[in-house]
């Protein structure tokens, strides 16, 4: 029986703990939210994060990205070379604008890292809807282990060697998804929405490539998968934030704090790396500079036209 330590007892952390326990893993989950929750067999809850880190070499971190750097600074003394971590943190860190695993690599000695991403959320896992996730890691043994530990009849977990690409696609999708929400709420029509979707994908692919991932990864579960969910469902926080922007309600858009943060940090990282990202810039401009959707759309449409790919 393999032993797993989970850090973060929010809805997503608990859903994954249940999934691991259902596959026969012994799970200890640390956090301050669910200490009174009813726990399934095989799951133990603790508020003592240190014990979880010291006693488990397989770790799953399900914290909001904003809390990650603080957690890692405290955890550094307990993290060793034999630790293997899978992160589900989505977005970039608030100050240094790092991906989750990038922050882990920079602030701790752990090398065997993976990221878990995709469209499935806690409620989909609870409902046992047939969904899929992707685990991105260049360490194939670790990827296979995560895959085996989480998979079930209703959850397919794919592996992908491109950790950077999977992690970034997930972040970029959260931001360009806002543009899809704006387009739907402005009733621009199916052709314009399809244009927004394909250009969002092209931008996602370019950014993934430009920031160290492999081109093509954006078309997988972490990128297209997440965008597809938004476009079909017409929900999701990014989509809702876009709808609020289209209605002219900036305060409502800002209430989706994680989306606003993802936009701010991604725009900053893209600018730092001197990459071209018109959709991300347009979303950032609507979110922070008060640009109206009409103005943002006009700016996008007036840019010089180039080749479709590249």
């Amino acid at each position: 029986m393999t032993r797993w330590g989970l850090v973060g007892d929010g809805a997503w952390g608990m859903a994954l703990a249940r999934r691991l326990a259902a596959n026969g893993c012994q799970v200890t989950i640390a956090g301050e939210n669910a200490y009174h929750a009813r726990l399934p067999k095989g799951v133990v809850h603790t508020v003592d994060v240190r014990t979880v880190l010291v006693d488990h070499e397989r770790l799953l971190i399900a914290l909001p990205i904003g809390n990650l750097e603080g957690f890692l600074t405290g955890a550094e003394p307990y993290l060793r070379g034999d630790h293997r971590i899978v992160s589900t943190c989505r977005g970039l860190t608030p100050k240094a604008h790092l991906r989750g695993t990038e922050a882990i690599a920079r602030l701790t000695a752990v090398r065997q890292l993976a990221v878990l991403a995709g469209a499935a959320d806690a409620s989909a896992l609870k409902r046992k809807s047939p969904v899929a996730l992707v685990v991105g890691t260049p360490f194939s043994d670790w990827g296979n282990e995560v895959q085996t530990a989480l998979s079930s009849n209703s959850l397919r977990v794919y592996t992908n060697g491109d950790l950077v690409g999977v992690e970034l696609a997930n972040v970029v999708a959260a931001v360009v998804g806002v543009a899809l929400g704006v387009a739907r709420a402005m009733s621009v029509g199916p052709a314009a929405e399809a244009t927004a979707l394909t250009r969002a994908l092209a931008e996602m692919d370019r950014l993934v490539g430009g920031l160290g991932g492999r081109q093509g990864t954006a078309y997988g579960l972490a990128g297209l998968g997440v965008l597809g969910e938004m476009a079909y469902e017409g929900k999701g926080n990014s989509f809702k934030a876009g709808t609020a922007l289209a209605k002219g309600s900036l305060s409502e858009a800002h209430s989706f704090f994680e989306v606003r943060e993802a936009t701010r940090t991604l725009a900053a990282r893209v600018s730092l790396e001197h990459l071209r990202a018109p959709l991300v810039d347009a979303v950032a401009s609507m979110m922070e500079a008060g640009t109206t959707p009409i103005e943002a759309l006009a700016d996008l449409m007036h840019r010089p036209v180039g080749p479709e790919v590249g």
Partner: protein, 533 residues
């Protein structure tokens, strides 16, 4: 305690035997559990590569091509013992070809009686003049950085020194700097083509260098080379290799490193841990910073050719002409700016920094037990794929160290600035057209000094943030003196003066040279451009 390399010859045969045994064991598993298929795969790969190579170089008649063709026809009919025998024989031949020698007499000669050798290099006939040259050499090459710590670590660990690579003089210069800094001699892999220089070849052959024939691209040879390097490190021989693989053609600091030989440090450490031998292995990044590069003209030409990769092994450059080398060295002696060899902070084989006591440290300074990287559920595990990934991460750490320890000299500083201005003056030309032009543009000195001050302010900030190192004069001298020094330096060696000074301007004669030297600042180009915007 003697450096292990001093006793190398006594163990040479034993090392070769171990390399052959390890390699043959490895080859038996190349294609899975069936040794027959694995041996066939390895021999076929070697035969195919060698036949193609020998056909290309038209070496028919020497017998080698015919022998490989004969072998290729027989492989399918050979039994497993026959195949193993063939592989063992060829592996032994390659191991023998790769393995170096270490002659204490040559080492003593090279270190204490060096003036004679250098005298020959400087074309002096007078021994006293040679001695003067050696003293000058000490004042012309600055060896700095974490030398004390590296010296301490060498007492109980094994060093793997990984310098940047921009000239064939690098191995000589590194050998000298190790000795000068009181560090033990290292064994190192040198391209077989370097042994063609008679003087340098003599020293290399007898000072522990092992020969790397980069024309041989098949796995039989490459794996022999890797096992040779691994066995040496495992046995505690301090080693040196250039992870850039080849000299930087563009003048840039290497960012993409070849990880084959660097991976042998991790494999050697894994092997030690398996045998409960916890003696550490340390990676020591080093930057070699030349104010002038001997082969700059050939290298940048090669960079510009489409077939640059085809000339991966250049054997007809400045280094192969002794007179050019001596001319170059004599000129370097006369420069105001010294060459700088900077030893960076040592790392463990996983890219973690190490403390003064040699223990690996986490990013927050927590001591680490490095062997734990090989554990799974508390047990040592063998996982080549995992170790390849560890090597990639260590390579990244080394590339980052190269940036932090790159020393920006006046020629790099002015090269970047003038080339940037050239591009602004000729926006209609693409990069290659500009590099091929003779320019002739005049750059007003007052404007140039103004731009140079702005660039310098940014570089000082980057140095304060530990992102690079500035040569002291670049940081502290009046800006026109820094520019003057660079102009004088270019003019000391390169045939076609890169820049000439008139009354109130600099006139660019050869943009290629500016591009080459300025590329040292390429990683910071965006920030530098912003500083000038």
């Amino acid at each position: 305690m003697d450096a292990p390399l001093l006793n190398f010859n006594r163990h040479r045969d034993d090392i070769e035997r171990e390399v052959v045994d390890r390699a043959v064991d490895w080859f038996a598993k190349t294609a899975g559990p069936d040794p027959l298929r694995s041996y066939q795969l390895v021999l076929n790969d070697a035969a195919l590569n060698e036949i193609h190579r020998l056909q290309r170089t038209r070496q028919r008649g020497a017998g080698a091509l015919e022998a490989w063709e004969r072998l290729a026809r027989q492989i399918g009919r050979m039994t497993e013992p026959e195949l193993e025998n063939q592989i063992r024989k060829r592996t032994a031949d390659y191991a023998n070809d790769v393995a170096g020698h270490f002659d204490r007499r040559v080492y003593r000669f090279a270190t204490s009686a060096l003036p004679t050798g250098l005298g020959a290099l400087f074309k002096t006939t007078d021994l006293m003049q040679g001695l003067t040259s050696l003293r000058e050499l000490e004042s012309r090459i600055r060896v700095e950085g974490e030398i004390d710590q590296v010296r301490e670590l060498a007492r109980f660990g094994t060093l793997v020194v990984v310098p940047t690579h921009s000239s064939n003089l690098d191995s000589i210069v590194m050998g000298w700097s190790l000795h000068n800094a009181g560090l033990p001699p290292c064994t190192y892999g040198a391209g077989k083509n370097l042994f063609t220089n008679p003087l340098v070849g003599f020293f290399m052959r007898n000072l522990g260098a092992y020969r790397v024939d980069r024309r041989l691209r098949h796995m039989l040879y490459k794996d022999v080379l890797k096992f040779y390097s691994q066995v040496l490190i495992e046995r505690g021989y301090h080693s040196l290799f250039f992870p850039g693989g080849t000299r930087s053609r563009s003048g840039e600091i290497e960012s993409k490193l070849k990880l084959g030989l660097m991976g042998t440090a991790i494999s050697a450490y894994a092997e030690r841990v398996q045998r409960d031998d916890r003696r550490p292995i340390y990676i020591v990044p080093v930057t070699i910073n030349y104010p002038l590069v001997l082969e700059a003209e050939t290298l940048v030409e090669d960079h510009l050719k489409d077939e640059g990769q085809a000339r991966y092994i250049i054997d007809d450059d400045e280094f192969s002409h002794l007179t050019k080398v001596s001319h170059f060295v004599a000129r370097v002696m006369a420069l105001d700016t010294t060459m700088v060899i900077r030893y960076g902070k040592p790392l463990d084989v996983f890219g973690n920094p190490v403390g003064p006591d040699g223990r690996s440290l986490g990013p927050g300074g927590t001591p680490l037990e490095a062997h734990r990287y090989f554990l799974r559920d508390g047990q040592m595990t063998v996982d080549p794929q995992r170790d390849t990934e560890y090597t990639r991460q260590t390579g990244y750490a080394v590339a980052q160290a190269y940036l932090r320890d790159a020393v920006i000299l006046p020629t790099h500083f002015l090269g970047w600035l003038l080339f940037h201005r050239e591009r602004r003056l000729a926006p209609h030309l693409d990069l290659f057209a500009l590099l091929r032009s003779t320019s002739g543009h005049r750059h007003d000195l007052t404007e140039l000094c103004d731009d140079a001050e702005r660039v310098r302010r940014l570089l000082c900030r980057l140095e304060d943030r530990n992102q690079l190192k500035l040569y002291p004069s670049v940081r502290s001298q009046p800006i026109d003196a820094v520019i003057g020094d660079a102009v004088k330096t270019y003019g000391m060696y390169h045939l076609k003066n890169a820049v000439e000074r008139t009354d109130h301007a600099l006139v660019v004669g050869d943009p290629k040279m500016l591009y080459f030297y300025g590329n040292r600042l390429a990683p910071w180009t965006y920030s530098l451009k912003e500083a000038l915007a």
